[in-house]
C-alpha cells in the first residue's frame, strides 16, 4: 500500500452498490433462520478455501508464465488418484497428501520441461496444448482408474463433526480445510515475499524481460513455479477428494472454478486468488441455500460484473 488510503467517490459508490444489497440480505436472513445463515457462511468460507487451494497454483502459473494451463484440473484429479492409492497402501492420510502434491508437481515439471519450454512467447499455442493435454489426460485417467467413485479415509480426529455456537454441528474436516488453506496461503505469501525465489517470481510477473536481463536463470524459475503450481493442484485434489469425492469429471469442475476465481481475483496475484475464491465460494453456497435453481449461474454473473468494472480482475494490475 502506498501513501494515503482514501476512497475515491467512484469506489465509495461501488462499495455501496454491491455492499448495500448484501447488508440488506443479511439483515433479512439472520433473523429469519440464523443457524442456516451462519452455516451457509461457514460453508462458503470452507468451499472458498478449497477453491483457493486449487486456484493459487493456477494463478501463479498464469501470472508468471502467461500460460493459461487448462490442464490444471487434470493435475488436480491426477494428484487425487495417486494420493488415494498411496493412502490405501500405507494407510496414512498425510502421506496421501504428500504423494498428491509430489506426483502432480512431477507431472507439471515434465510438462514445463518437455513441452512448454519450447513454446516461449506463443501464448495461444501453449493454451491449445494444455487443452489437448487435458483431453488426453482425462481419457487416460478414465482408462487407468475406471469410472468408479473414490473416497478418502482421513484420520478420525479430522473426521466427524464439531459443535460450534449457533451452528450445532459442523463437519470438522471443512474447518480443517479452512485452516489448511489459511496456512498454505500464508506460507505461499511468505515464500513469494520473503525468499529469493519468491522475489524472482514476483519480478517475473511484473516484467519478464527485465528478470531475464538481470541475469536470473529464467527457465529454472519457470520450472520451479510450474512445479509448485501443479503440486498445489495435486494437494488440493487430495484435500478436495476427502471433503467430497473423486470421479471423472472433477477435473473440469475445478478447472472452471479456478478460471472464474482467477478472472475475478486478478492474474498473478495470490491475494487476488483469495479474494476471488471468497466471493465465488460464498456466492455458490448462499445461492445453493437460498436460490438453488440458479446458484451455478451466480458465480458466472459475479465474474461478468467484476469484468465489466475491472477488466483485469479485482486485484489485477492496471493495463
Amino acid at each position: 500500500m502506498n501513501g494515503t488510503w482514501r476512497l475515491t467517490p467512484k469506489q465509495i459508490a461501488l462499495w455501496l452498490l454491491f455492499g448495500g444489497p448484501v447488508v440488506v440480505f443479511a439483515a433479512w436472513a439472520i433473523p429469519d433462520n440464523a443457524p442456516l445463515f451462519f452455516k451457509t457462511l461457514l460453508n462458503g468460507l470452507t468451499l472458498a478455501s478449497l477453491y483457493f487451494l486449487v486456484a493459487s497454483g493456477f494463478t501463479l502459473v498464469f501470472g508468471l508464465m502467461r500460460n493459461v494451463n487448462l490442464a490444471h484440473g487434470s493435475l488436480y484429479l491426477f494428484g487425487a488418484y495417486v494420493g488415494w492409492f498411496v493412502g490405501e497402501h500405507t494407510g496414512s492420510w498425510v502421506l496421501a497428501v504428500a504423494a498428491g502434491f509430489l506426483s502432480a508437481a512431477v507431472v507439471g515439471l515434465l510438462m514445463q520441461l518437455l513441452v512448454f519450454r519450447f513454446m516461449e512467447g506463443q501464448d495461444l499455442r501453449q493454451t491449445l496444448v494444455t487443452i489437448g493435454l487435458s483431453i488426453v489426460f482425462a481419457d487416460l485417467m478414465l482408462w487407468t482408474f475406471g469410472g468408479e467413485i473414490y473416497t478418502f479415509d482421513p484420520p478420525a480426529w479430522i473426521y466427524g463433526s464439531t459443535s460450534l455456537p449457533v451452528i450445532e454441528k459442523f463437519p470438522t474436516f471443512r474447518l480443517f480445510v479452512l485452516l489448511a488453506a489459511m496456512a498454505i496461503g500464508v506460507a505461499l505469501w511468505c515464500f513469494l515475499a520473503k525468499t529469493r525465489v519468491g522475489m524472482m517470481i514476483r519480478a517475473g510477473v511484473d516484467d519478464r524481460g527485465m528478470l531475464s536481463a538481470s541475469g536470473v536463470n529464467v527457465q529454472l524459475v519457470f520450472a520451479t513455479t510450474f512445479a509448485i503450481g501443479a503440486g498445489l493442484a495435486g494437494l488440493a485434489g487430495v484435500v478436495g477428494g476427502t471433503a467430497l469425492s473423486i470421479s471423472p469429471g472433477e477435473d473440469t469442475r475445478y478447472l472452471l472454478a479456478s478460471l472464474v476465481v482467477v478472472i475475478v481475483g486478478g492474474m498473478g496475484s495470490v491475494v487476488g486468488a483469495a479474494i476471488g475464491a471468497l466471493l465465488i465460494g460464498l456466492a455458490e453456497q448462499f445461492g445453493l441455500a437460498y436460490a438453488p435453481t440458479y446458484s451455478v449461474v451466480f458465480t458466472f454473473v459475479i465474474m461478468v460484473v467484476a469484468l465489466a468494472f475491472k477488466p483485469r480482475g479485482l486485484m489485477g494490475k492496471a493495463a
Partner: protein, 375 residues
C-alpha cells in the same frame, strides 16, 4: 487515413515481414502494387480463381448426387454447418487474434431462439412465429449476444479472451440447463424443423445440403472479402500491433467488438443450420465438449485460411462417425485429443500447414525465399 492510402502505405513495404505477435497466426497478405489499367470485374476474378477452386466447387455441388443420402446429410451437411461455426472462430482467432471459445454458445443461442420464436415440441414456450421471422430474430439476437460477449472480452489482453469466453459459454450452458420458462431446461426443444418452401422439403438430405452449402459458401466468400477489405486489414493490424493501430487513429476496441459481431453472425447462421440439422436443441448442444470441439476443428484445419475451418470440420465429422469402426471404441476421446495435440505440437497451422509443407517438399522447383524471422 483513407483506405486507399493505407493500402498504398502497406504495399510499399511488400517483401518486408510484418512483426507478428505469435508464431501461429497467419501473416498479413501483401497486396501487389500494379499500375493497373482499368480491368473488368470478370478479368479480376479470373486472375484470382485457380483451377483448384473450380474443382472443389464442382465437387461440392455434385457431391450429394454421387454420395449416399446418409453421407450427404450426416457427413456433408453437418461438416458444412460445423465448418461455418468454426469459420467464425478462424476469422476471429486467425485474423483477429482473439480466440473465443464462445462461438458454439452463440450458435446454440441462435438455435434456441429459433425454437423459442418458432414452432417446437414445447408449446408452452414457443411463440409459433413463421420460420423466416423466427430465423431473422434468431440471427439478430445471437449477433447481439456476440457483441455483448465481445465487449466483455476485448478490453483485456488476448490470452484472457479464451478464459473469459470459456466461462461465459459454460455460464450459458448452466442457464439453459436450469431455466425452464425460456429454455426448457434439461430436455430442450425438439421438433424444430427446417421449413418447406416452393414444394421442396428442406428437411430432406439433398435440399438441406444445398442450403448448408449456400450458407457456407456465402460465409466463406464474406470472410475472404472482409480480410482484404479495409476492415479486415485494420483487424489484422490490430492483431499484430494494437498500439501502433491506436496511434494511427483506429478505434481498437470498436474494431474488435465489430469483429466479434461479424463472427457472431457467422456462428449464428451456423447455429441455425445446426438446429435444423438436428431438429432439436438442448443444453447438450452447447456444453463444454462442443465448445472445445469447435476449437479443435478450427485448429485441425488451420487458422491461416478460411478453407481450413471446413477441412477441419470434414475430418472431425468423419472421425466422429467412423472412429468407432476403426479404433478401439472406448478411447475415442483419446484419439481426438491425441490428434489435436499432435497438430498443435508439430503443425500449428493445422492440416493446411501440413499440406503446404508437403507441397513444398514434393515440388521439384525450390524457390529460395528469405526465411521470415520474427524480430
Amino acid at each position: 487515413m483513407s483506405a486507399a492510402r493505407w493500402r498504398r502505405a502497406m504495399s510499399a513495404s511488400v517483401g518486408v515481414s510484418m512483426p507478428a505477435r505469435s508464431a501461429d497466426v497467419p501473416r498479413l497478405v501483401p497486396l501487389p502494387v500494379l499500375a493497373t489499367p482499368k480491368t473488368f470485374w470478370f478479368e479480376r476474378i479470373g486472375a484470382r480463381v485457380k483451377p483448384r477452386h473450380l474443382v472443389v466447387l464442382a465437387a461440392a455441388l455434385l457431391y450429394p448426387f454421387v454420395a449416399s443420402p446418409f453421407f450427404a446429410y450426416q457427413i456433408g451437411a453437418q461438416a458444412l454447418a460445423l465448418g461455418l461455426i468454426a469459420l467464425s472462430l478462424t476469422f476471429l482467432g486467425g485474423y483477429g487474434g482473439m480466440v473465443s471459445l464462445a462461438q458454439m454458445t452463440i450458435a446454440g443461442f441462435a438455435g434456441y431462439l429459433v425454437a423459442i420464436f418458432g414452432t417446437s415440441s414445447v408449446a408452452g414456450v414457443s411463440l409459433g412465429w413463421p420460420w423466416w421471422l423466427a430465423a431473422a430474430f434468431a440471427l439478430l439476437g445471437a449477433t447481439v449476444l456476440a457483441t455483448a460477449i465481445g465487449w466483455l472480452s476485448v478490453r483485456t489482453e488476448g490470452i484472457y479472451t479464451i478464459m473469459i469466453t470459456l466461462a461465459v459459454g459454460v455460464a450459458f450452458f448452466y442457464l439453459a440447463q436450469q431455466n425452464y420458462t425460456v429454455f426448457n431446461g434439461f430436455g430442450g426443444f425438439s421438433k424444430v424443423a427446417a421449413p418447406e418452401l416452393f414444394g421442396i422439403d428442406f428437411k430432406q438430405p439433398v435440399p438441406f445440403y444445398f442450403v448448408a452449402l449456400t450458407a457456407a459458401l456465402a460465409g466463406y466468400f464474406l470472410v475472404k472479402h472482409l480480410v482484404r477489405a479495409p476492415f479486415g486489414i485494420a483487424l489484422q493490424g490490430i492483431r499484430d500491433n494494437p498500439r501502433r493501430m491506436a496511434s494511427l487513429g483506429y478505434h481498437v476496441t470498436a474494431h474488435r467488438v465489430a469483429a466479434y459481431a461479424v463472427a457472431g453472425f457467422l456462428a449464428a447462421v451456423g447455429g441455425l443450420l445446426m438446429v435444423w440439422y438436428n431438429g432439436r436443441i438442448s443444453p447438450g448442444t452447447v456444453n463444454l465438449a462442443q465448445m472445445i470441439a469447435i476449437l479443435i476443428i478450427a485448429v485441425l484445419g488451420g487458422m491461416r485460411h478460411p478453407i481450413g475451418a471446413f477441412i477441419g470440420a470434414v475430418v472431425y465429422v468423419l472421425l466422429q462417425n467412423f472412429a468407432i469402426d476403426l479404433f478401439v471404441r472406448e478411447r475415442f476421446n483419446l484419439v481426438i485429443g491425441g490428434v489435436f495435440l499432435s497438430i498443435v505440437l508439430f503443425s500449428p497451422d493445422g492440416l493446411l500447414g501440413l499440406w503446404a509443407k508437403l507441397r513444398s517438399s514434393l515440388s521439384q522447383t525450390r524457390i529460395s525465399q528469405p526465411k521470415r524471422r520474427r524480430p
